[in-house]
């Protein structure tokens, strides 16, 4: 096994062990969890080595079965998807570690299937990221989505319906994407991204290509829950089991955002996206809407998890906005925000998971006295919340900073105002919760008796949570390094 085969192993290992887990589960159920952790650690380690390889030695190409592109399927890893790959695998490892306790508490009898689906979901997400082929991307998109539908349906009352709703939306989105692939294939006869990037510039006036582009954008927008196509998200993520929502909430949408950057800016020429079509302009407006809408609706929520769902919609708006600015700073901000937001959201959803695990209600007005019972967990929430608001030195500030620079560069004063206002909205949102958790003692409302037994969450939940929090806190300071070391190479040449 030489290093060059890592790209395929990252995908194949989780895929195979997903099915293997079912067999193992039949014999020894307690082996499933270690197997999953082993697999996820392998993926994480190999993505680290792949990213290193890419940064030192340039883009890696892996040809499946030795077929040459554009006929065969090719896995391509450049700095952009190497970066996303690491985010996906590392966060799924951390969430994977926490899943054991949560699964035991919420649905012990379905543990085997859960681990299998969990791995399939991760496989799908990783596959979307590494592939260099548009149709192959669709296949992984469906693997991830279908695993996602099943995982979400495992949740509490209302989950099956939410999952069904998600499935309808998701399928429509996937269809749009597939239609886009089909149209492009008609026009060009190719499915390989690099190949398409060569062919497309000469075909841009073709209506078929235009329509393909539109289909792509709509399909991806549904998958990444970009306003106004976000309707499936709040329900699905609220009712999903804790371990699932903390996996899919940070990752699925971020991978969607990655696909958008990949298709709009590297498969299609960036000039087409920004200058020829008003696509970037439309994306900016939609993103403005997403940010405002997400923030305002989040204000109206009483359920903490649902509130986070709307915050997530606003955060996706940030990424889309950064892409829509169509300049270097904006794109830097968007890519950095993929990392930062994945961390923050994982942290926040895991926080909800941790308090749910301890039997704490998720309603916002019942959080009184939380910091006394679970001080570390509450501290994690505060730090992640500050990061969403954009308080330095947490990482959220730095991506916001680049987005603001992007807005200045493209002279989008309205977007800038919305960006800044949204930090204020977020401040209201999070300080409202912090106030409840810290400043109103638990003695009122007869909460004392029930909360007496509640302790800090078990180590397998607490530790990943703290790792994520440390990430949120420290990655901001290292963002200069991340940008000059990775993101600088991930931005398409057009922007230099």
């Amino acid at each position: 096994m030489n290093e060059i085969s890592f790209p395929i192993l990252i995908i194949v290992v989780p895929l195979i062990s997903a099915f293997f887990i079912i067999l193992v589960g039949l014999l020894r159920r307690d082996l499933c969890y270690p197997l999953m952790i082993l697999t996820l650690s392998f993926s994480t380690l190999s993505s680290i080595s792949v990213l290193k390889e890419v940064l030192w030695g340039g883009t890696i190409h892996y040809r499946l079965g030795g077929w040459l592109p554009p006929w065969g399927i090719e896995y391509v890893i450049d700095p952009l998807n190497g970066f996303v790959l690491l985010i996906v695998s590392a966060i799924s490892l951390l969430i994977g570690i926490t899943s054991k306790r949560m699964v035991e508490r919420e649905f012990p009898e379905k543990a085997t299937f859960f681990y299998c689906l969990f791995l399939l979901q991760v496989t799908g997400l990783l596959g979307i990221v590494v592939t260099g082929d548009l149709f192959n991307l669709y296949v992984f998109l469906e693997i991830a989505s279908i695993a996602g539908y099943a995982l979400i349906a495992l949740g509490e009352d209302g989950a099956p319906f939410a999952s069904f709703n998600y499935m309808i939306y998701g399928t429509v989105g996937a269809c749009f994407y597939l239609l886009g692939v089909g149209y492009l294939y008609i026009a060009t006869g190719s499915l390989n991204m690099a190949d398409l990037a060569q062919i497309l510039p000469s075909l841009l006036s073709s209506k078929v290509v235009l329509i393909a582009f539109a289909f792509f954008m709509v399909g991806i927008a549904i998958k990444m829950a970009l306003f106004p196509l976000h309707v499936w998200l709040p329900d699905a993520y609220t009712y999903a089991p804790s371990a699932v929502s903390s996996l899919v909430a940070p990752l699925t949408t971020k991978v969607g955002a990655y696909v958008m950057i990949r298709v709009a800016l590297t498969v299609f020429p960036p000039a087409f996206f920004i200058e020829t079509l008003p696509a970037a302009l439309m994306l900016r407006w939609i993103a403005n809407g997403a940010i405002l809408f997400g923030c305002i609706l989040a204000l109206a929520q009483k359920d903490l998890k649902r509130m986070l769902g709307y915050v997530l919609i606003a955060e996706i708006g940030y990424i889309a906005l950064g892409v829509g600015f169509g300049n270097r700073n904006g794109l830097t901000g968007a890519i950095l925000h993929i990392l930062n937001d994945a961390l923050m959201m994982a942290c926040l959803f895991l926080f909800v998971g941790a308090i749910t695990y301890q039997g704490w209600p998720r309603k916002m007005d019942q959080l009184r006295g939380l910091h006394r019972k679970m001080p570390l967990t509450a501290a994690a929430f505060v730090i992640a919340g500050l990061s969403v608001i954009g308080v330095p030195p947490t990482c959220g500030f730095f991506s916001k900073w680049y987005l603001v620079l992007g807005a200045i560069d493209s002279k989008e004063w309205l977007s800038m105002a919305i960006l800044l206002a949204s930090s204020l909205f977020n401040a209201i949102l999070f300080f409202r919760v912090i106030e409840k958790a810290y400043f109103e003692s638990g003695k009122e409302h007869g909460m004392v008796q029930r909360t007496m037994e509640i302790k800090e969450s078990p180590l397998t939940i607490l530790l990943p949570l703290l790792v994520l929090t440390a990430g949120v806190l420290s990655l901001g300071l290292f963002s200069g390094k991340i940008i000059s070391g990775i993101i600088r190479f991930a931005i398409p040449v057009y922007f230099k």
Binding site: P392, F397, A421, F439, L477, G480, I483
Partner: protein, 484 residues
């Protein structure tokens, strides 16, 4: 700088044992003060200490630089932290307040923020600490956990975070224009951007940082934040928060825009008018307050505006005076707040009208109050006189008689709102039924009060004593104006 981080860790570990925890606070504050003071001789010889941590943006690092102005503020903050630590131990025990660990933790964090602001080498680093300071003060304001305290905290956050977003905006523009955010004595914005853009930028900067400096009409959060425990109010008003705001405003005026650019654009006069307006109005409002702490709050707003006015005059004496006033006012105002707290702990009185005859039962406390309040009014030999004198000279140098009048009027107002308190507390008979005889607060509180009052007299008699505040102020003013 490093000690601040250490202080945090220590406070986190000293969770349960209160003696240990408070011991850590004291030790940390002493160490910090020593470190800061030890840097003074080097700086006075014209050296600049720099320390770069890492690069945050292309061209902007997470960087500290110790210059005369920053060191001036740091010395003030770290000296006053010692006093406040001692005092807050007495106060928190005296009132048997809850969640004291959170209190001391946030306190140390806030001081960390203040010192970070003092030593930041560029706007971005400064902003990082600015936000740390903002956020860490919120739990202090809301400390009592009553509805009133929480709404005070909310108001505080709402004002300051809105200000902070404006600062992000202005930093973004500055960075896009110049590609750097490093402070430079005399400013670095000259020659970039159009006049109207620079004017807008100045406005957003001043509004952004001005919220923290409680420049009218952005002052509303400050009196409301008076619900906080008194050591916090003292910290808010004398040392960390508002002074940090003023410090930031001065940094922007002197180190980002620079005197030349400001006088070229005629921006200084607008700022001076806003500051004068604040001075007069807050002085009058102070007269109308019956709650002692609220009266002090308006007096703080008044004095902060005086500092800003002095700097906006852009003349050597004006800048020296305004920088020196940061320290002078710091010592005097902290004395006043300590006194207010001591009275509250001992007698639970908060209103000015209830203070009749209190000077008889608490002589040391009230004598300190008298000294400090006369000092703020600018009566020699207190420290306030020196800074007022230079400020008046400054307005003469700038040939603006109007601002001289404003300064003199504010001195009169100061006497008008402090005078009655002194008179009533010493010369009026106490209300019937109050026990007579000495009833001072605990020594933990009286000693810091006495020390601070003494220092404010001392600074007035020999402004260069001990830590050479005055010399640092002149040095900073000279470097800004480019005079030798």
């Amino acid at each position: 700088m490093v000690s601040a981080v250490a202080a945090l860790l220590i406070l986190l570990t000293g969770e349960r044992r209160r003696n240990l925890r408070e011991g850590w606070t004291l030790i940390a504050s002493l160490i910090k003060c020593l470190i800061v003071v030890s840097m003074i001789p080097a700086i006075l010889h014209g050296k600049v200490i720099e320390w770069t941590l890492m690069e945050l943006l292309p061209g902007v690092s997470f960087q500290f630089r110790v210059d005369a102005f920053g060191l001036f503020f740091a010395t003030l903050a770290s000296c006053l932290w010692i006093a406040t630590s001692v005092y807050s131990i007495g106060y928190m025990r005296g009132t048997q307040s809850m969640s004291q660990t959170r209190f001391f933790f946030c306190f140390a964090l806030a001081l960390h923020g203040a010192l970070g602001i003092a030593f930041s080498a560029n706007l971005l680093t400064l902003f990082v600490f600015y936000e740390i300071l903002t956020v860490s003060t919120f739990p202090l304001v809301a400390h009592k956990e009553t509805d009133e305290a929480i709404s005070g905290g909310r108001k505080y956050l709402a004002y300051l975070l809105t200000g902070a977003t404006l600062v992000i905006f202005s930093m973004g523009i500055t960075y896009t224009l110049t590609g750097t955010l490093d402070f430079k004595a005399g400013g670095f914005l000259k020659g970039f951007g159009s006049d109207s853009l620079l004017k807008l930028l100045f406005a957003t900067f001043i509004i952004g940082f001005g919220t923290k400096a409680a420049l009218m009409p952005l002052h509303e959060w400050l009196p409301t934040a008076m619900v906080a425990p008194t050591p916090v109010s003292a910290l808010l008003h004398a040392v960390a928060v508002v002074k940090a705001g003023v410090f930031c405003v001065l940094r922007v005026i002197l180190y980002v825009f620079g005197p030349e650019l400001l006088s070229a654009l005629d921006l200084w006069i607008i700022l001076a008018y806003v500051a004068s307006f604040t001075i007069l109005l807050s002085g009058m409002l102070a007269l109308a307050q019956d709650n002692l702490k609220r009266r002090l709050a308006f007096s703080t707003i008044n004095n902060l505006a005086i500092i800003i006015l002095g700097a906006s005059l852009l003349s050597p004496s004006g800048i020296t005076g305004s920088i020196f006033h940061i320290a002078a006012h710091g010592f005097m105002k902290i004395t006043l707040f300590f006194v207010a707290g001591a009275i509250y702990v001992k007698t639970h009185k908060e209103k000015v009208s209830e203070l009749d005859g209190i000077g008889i039962s608490m002589p040391v406390t009230m004598a300190s109050f008298a000294v400090a309040s006369l000092g703020i009014s600018g009566i020699p030999p207190m420290a306030g006189f020196i800074s007022k004198w230079y400020l008046c000279l400054g307005s003469l140098e700038a040939k603006e008689i109007l601002f001289l009048l404003v300064l003199l009027a504010s001195a009169l107002l100061d006497i008008a709102y402090f005078g009655p308190i002194i008179y009533h507390s010493f010369f009026k008979k106490p209300a019937v039924g109050t026990p007579s005889g000495m009833a001072e607060a605990s020594l933990w509180m009286v000693i810091p009060i006495g020390v601070c009052a003494t220092v404010s007299v001392f600074l007035g008699i020999s402004p260069n004593a001990l830590v050479r505040f005055f010399q640092m102020a002149t040095l900073a003013a000279k470097s800004v104006l480019g005079v030798d």
